[in-house]
């Protein structure tokens, strides 16, 4: 029978239903068993960050459905002219592919991290960082293209001014997240490569030792940034 530690010295059968849930959550020392402090902190941060992106996207959607000026057609705006024909959303498709692939390499890095395979972990993390940097690079290309076509935060040639403002704000905020992720991927990869997590070398700022779990925590952030992109892709480009 499932048990929950409720009081010192008293391990009692877990009550049924909601009371059982409450008893589990409030059990001794830790609410989430086998979850380290760092991982718990990352999850809670991501929850908070979800609200930030949620508010951004909701604000954008409000602007889009309430505007009385036509909204530029994303299929046309985000088309690239390749080989004489306009291919809608081709760049975005490649960007999305790159970013989703980077989630794959990240997951592999976590796997090799727990196997203590320093070399493969570091290489896969650097590969993830490279894919992330590629994503940001393509985003910079896309921004440049739109800017040369006359899109500005305060207006654009095709319709509602909020198109440009929302676009630069949301993709910019997401791109910042990716950039920060790339920087930290490189930092953690360096620590892995150097063997900090085996030798117990202390962090420069925090004076604390790290563990291979840091790779996984880094991965949580990275997957989150990818997941957010999926929503931005759906709500901004496909709508």
């Amino acid at each position: 029978m499932a048990e929950t530690l409720t009081h010192i010295g008293r391990t009692e059968p877990r009550p049924a239903g909601l009371q059982g849930i409450a008893a589990d959550w409030s059990s001794d020392q830790r609410a989430f068993k086998n979850v380290s402090w760092g991982k718990a902190m990352m999850w809670i941060f991501l929850l908070s960050d979800t609200f930030i992106f949620g508010c951004f996207l909701l604000s954008y959607m409000t602007a889009r459905i309430s505007t009385r000026v036509p909204w530029p057609n994303p299929s046309e705006v985000f088309a690239l002219r390749i080989g004489g024909s306009d291919i809608p959303l081709i760049l975005i498709a490649i960007m999305t592919f790159v970013l989703i692939s980077s989630s794959g390499t990240m997951a592999m890095a976590v796997n090799f991290g727990y196997r203590r395979d320093r070399r493969k972990t570091a290489i896969l993390m650097l590969l993830t960082a490279a894919l992330g940097a590629t994503f940001v690079g393509m985003q910079a290309f896309e921004w440049t293209k739109l800017i040369t076509e006359g899109v500005r935060p305060w207006g654009n040639p095709w319709g509602a001014a909020q198109f440009g403002s929302s676009f630069f704000m949301i993709t910019g905020f997401h791109g910042t997240h990716v950039t920060i992720g790339v920087i930290f991927l490189i930092i953690v990869a360096r620590k892995v490569w150097r063997g900090d997590f085996d030798t117990g070398r202390r962090g420069f700022f925090t004076s604390r030792t790290g563990r291979y779990e840091n790779v996984e925590i880094m991965g949580l952030y990275w997957h989150f940034v990818d997941l957010v992109w999926v929503f931005i892709f759906a709500f901004f480009y496909l709508w």
């Binding site: 001794d28 068993k33 929850l47 604000s59 409000t62 602007a63 403002s165 704000m169």
Partner: protein, 589 residues
């Protein structure tokens, strides 16, 4: 109750002892400190400092309102700047920072039996970013055009137009930047508080044994982590509207006969974002106060808190409900009548858990061994004030009653009673209660009693007449009423009276500050546990607690925080870390 001896059945520690950062120099010990207790004092001192600025601003406002036309330097623009900065500082930079950054940092690790916050370095960054936010805020007083005068709600479009002080100058930009910094800094601290409570407790400290203080601060922090994002987004968007010329919140609008470049934005969107943050913010300030006051009452009435579980669920319930009531701040903004109906209903439902808490406080006092110490006086004053302020909330929560009362002094009176005076009374009570632990000395009793009565009675003399003014129709945010013939003579007299009381209450706070400083050296020696309280922070080997809080071994918790006056026990309190069974405890099974 099962008899438990320390030997049997104590579970092993689930987490290895945390590595503490040991400071090497004076700088890392007292300035760039990673010790939550030092960070707490830094937070509190900074919040108090900026709070004094807000206090002086309120004096300037009262000078103008009480004696209109007398003071030439208080122009209408300056008045709006005072009102804006007063509100913003008091709500965010004082109350939020003091309750969560100050009391949260000091009390959470001590009360849950931890050596420190889980990530002390991030915790330290949190303070320094908060300080930066405060400095940016203060800098707006010296910027060209002065601070923003948009009102603490910063409603667009007026917030960024040239008619508003600071609207087309630096004021609004510095305000928004400061808020963004505050949110970043707060998030760093808030993540620490939440993870410390969830994952960093000592052995035996189940969530249902936490002192209610920790429950209040914990729930408020979770709410802040979910509510501040909306403000963050609103600030970023308005900053873009002002600096880049976007039109998120700006409709097509003309100013001085000239059409502005903006168009198509929605001012109502800002109000939704702002109040999605703003209403939880009320409870971010109130819940820590609820928690602290529960512990003060229980300790100083020598009686277990009545209905501990209900108190916890009420805190959690209020926290959850406060996310679905925000539009009751927008009844006059124009919305579908059914939305008004919905938000009025959810608003009034909050009265249920709140009433549970008030009843439980009163029932805790019932037949208790009430010691009228200064913390207890403040706690009692809080209950009365909170009930008074809450009752006017019932008026304002109803759409039909709110509409005529909206934007009158009645609203000012309501929120000052319920989220100004009430939480501040708890802050004072908490300082009188925990000061002996922080410094090792008691605050001066005589000065404290003077401070209490001056603050308590004075606050009522300030804010009670405002209800009457509001019912007469005196609008808020007007810098003078001289030419308004609808106002009776008595309204003007009342305004002068309120102003004089505001000065008196303000000066009483200087007595308090003097007491704080004087007692560090000259206060009576307090000993480790002057209030004979049960919670872990009073059981530390040293007072003030040393780095690492608890000496060699962390305490083990054997009981809840409220074993006061247990029949059969030698003393009228049993600390949480004392093993054994003494008699019929009221601890919920």
């Amino acid at each position: 109750m099962v008899d438990i001896t320390p030997a049997d059945g104590i579970p092993p520690a689930e987490v290895a002892e945390m590595e503490l950062y040991h400071p090497h120099s004076w700088w890392t010990k007292y300035v760039f400190s990673q010790d939550a207790k030092v960070i707490a004092i830094q937070y509190s001192a900074t919040a108090t400092g900026i709070g004094l600025v807000a206090l002086v601003l309120s004096w300037l406002m009262r000078l103008q309102l009480g004696f209109p036309g007398t003071f030439d330097f208080i122009t209408p623009e300056a008045y709006y700047q005072f009102i804006t900065m007063h509100g913003m500082i008091m709500v965010i930079y004082l109350l939020t920072a003091l309750f969560l950054g100050g009391f949260g940092n000091y009390l959470i690790p001590l009360m849950v039996g931890a050596r420190d916050m889980v990530f002390p370095y991030v915790n330290m960054l949190s303070y320094w970013i908060y300080l930066l936010a405060v400095l940016v805020l203060v800098s707006s007083f010296f910027a060209p055009g002065g601070p923003t005068g948009a009102g603490w709600t910063l409603y667009p479009p007026q917030a960024i137009m040239s008619g508003t002080p600071g609207g087309q100058d630096w004021g609004i930009i510095l305000m928004l930047s400061s808020l963004i910094l505050f949110i970043i800094g707060f998030t760093m601290g808030g993540l620490n508080y939440v993870v410390t409570v969830l994952q960093g407790r000592t052995r035996g400290m189940t969530l249902m044994r936490l002192p209610l203080t920790v429950w209040g601060i914990f729930t408020a922090t979770v709410m802040a982590l979910l509510a501040f994002p909306a403000l963050f987004v609103a600030c970023v968007m308005m900053l873009f509207d002002r600096a880049l010329g976007t039109s998120f919140f700006m409709p097509a609008i003309s100013e001085m006969g000239e059409q502005l470049q903006h168009g198509g934005g929605s001012p109502i969107l800002f109000q939704h974002l702002f109040w999605f943050f703003g209403h939880p913010e009320v409870y971010i300030v109130a819940l820590p106060a609820f928690g602290i006051v529960s512990d003060l009452i229980s300790t100083h009435a020598r009686k277990n808190i009545f209905g501990y579980r209900m108190m916890v669920w009420a805190i959690v319930g209020i926290g959850a409900l406060s996310f679905v009531v925000w539009a009751h701040h927008m009844y006059v903004s124009g919305m579908h009548p059914y939305f008004g109906f919905f938000f009025a209903t959810t608003t009034l439902i909050i009265a249920i858990p709140t009433a549970i808490k008030v009843y439980n406080w009163v029932l805790t006092l019932w037949r208790g061994d009430i010691h009228l110490t200064i913390p207890m006086l403040f706690a009692l004053a809080f209950i009365v004030t909170f009930v008074n302020g809450g009752l006017t909330g019932l008026f304002l929560g109803n759409v039909v009653v709110d509409v005529p009362l909206s934007d009158t002094m009645f609203v000012v009176a309501h929120f000052h009673m319920v989220m100004g005076v009430a939480p501040i009374l708890v802050v004072f009570g908490a300082i009188y209660h925990w000061y002996p632990k922080v410094t090792g000395r008691m605050l001066n009793e005589t000065l404290g009693r003077f401070h209490f009565w001056a603050t308590f009675l004075g606050a009522y003399l300030i804010f009670f007449p405002m209800h009457y003014l509001g019912l007469m129709g005196v609008p808020r945010r007007y810098n003078e009423l001289t030419d308004m013939t609808v106002m009776t003579e008595s309204a003007h007299h009342l305004n002068s009276f309120i102003s004089i009381m505001a000065f008196i209450v303000g000066f009483a706070q200087i007595v308090f500050l003097f007491n704080l400083i004087w007692s560090i050296r000259h206060g009576r020696e307090a000993g480790g546990n002057p209030w004979r309280a049960t919670t872990l922070e009073w059981q530390t080997p040293q007072t003030p607690p040393a780095h690492g809080n608890f000496g060699k071994d962390l305490p083990i918790v054997y009981r809840w925080a409220y074993d006061y006056s247990v029949p059969g026990a030698k003393e009228d309190f049993i600390p949480q870390n004392v093993p054994g069974s003494f008699g019929p405890s009221k601890e919920p099974a």
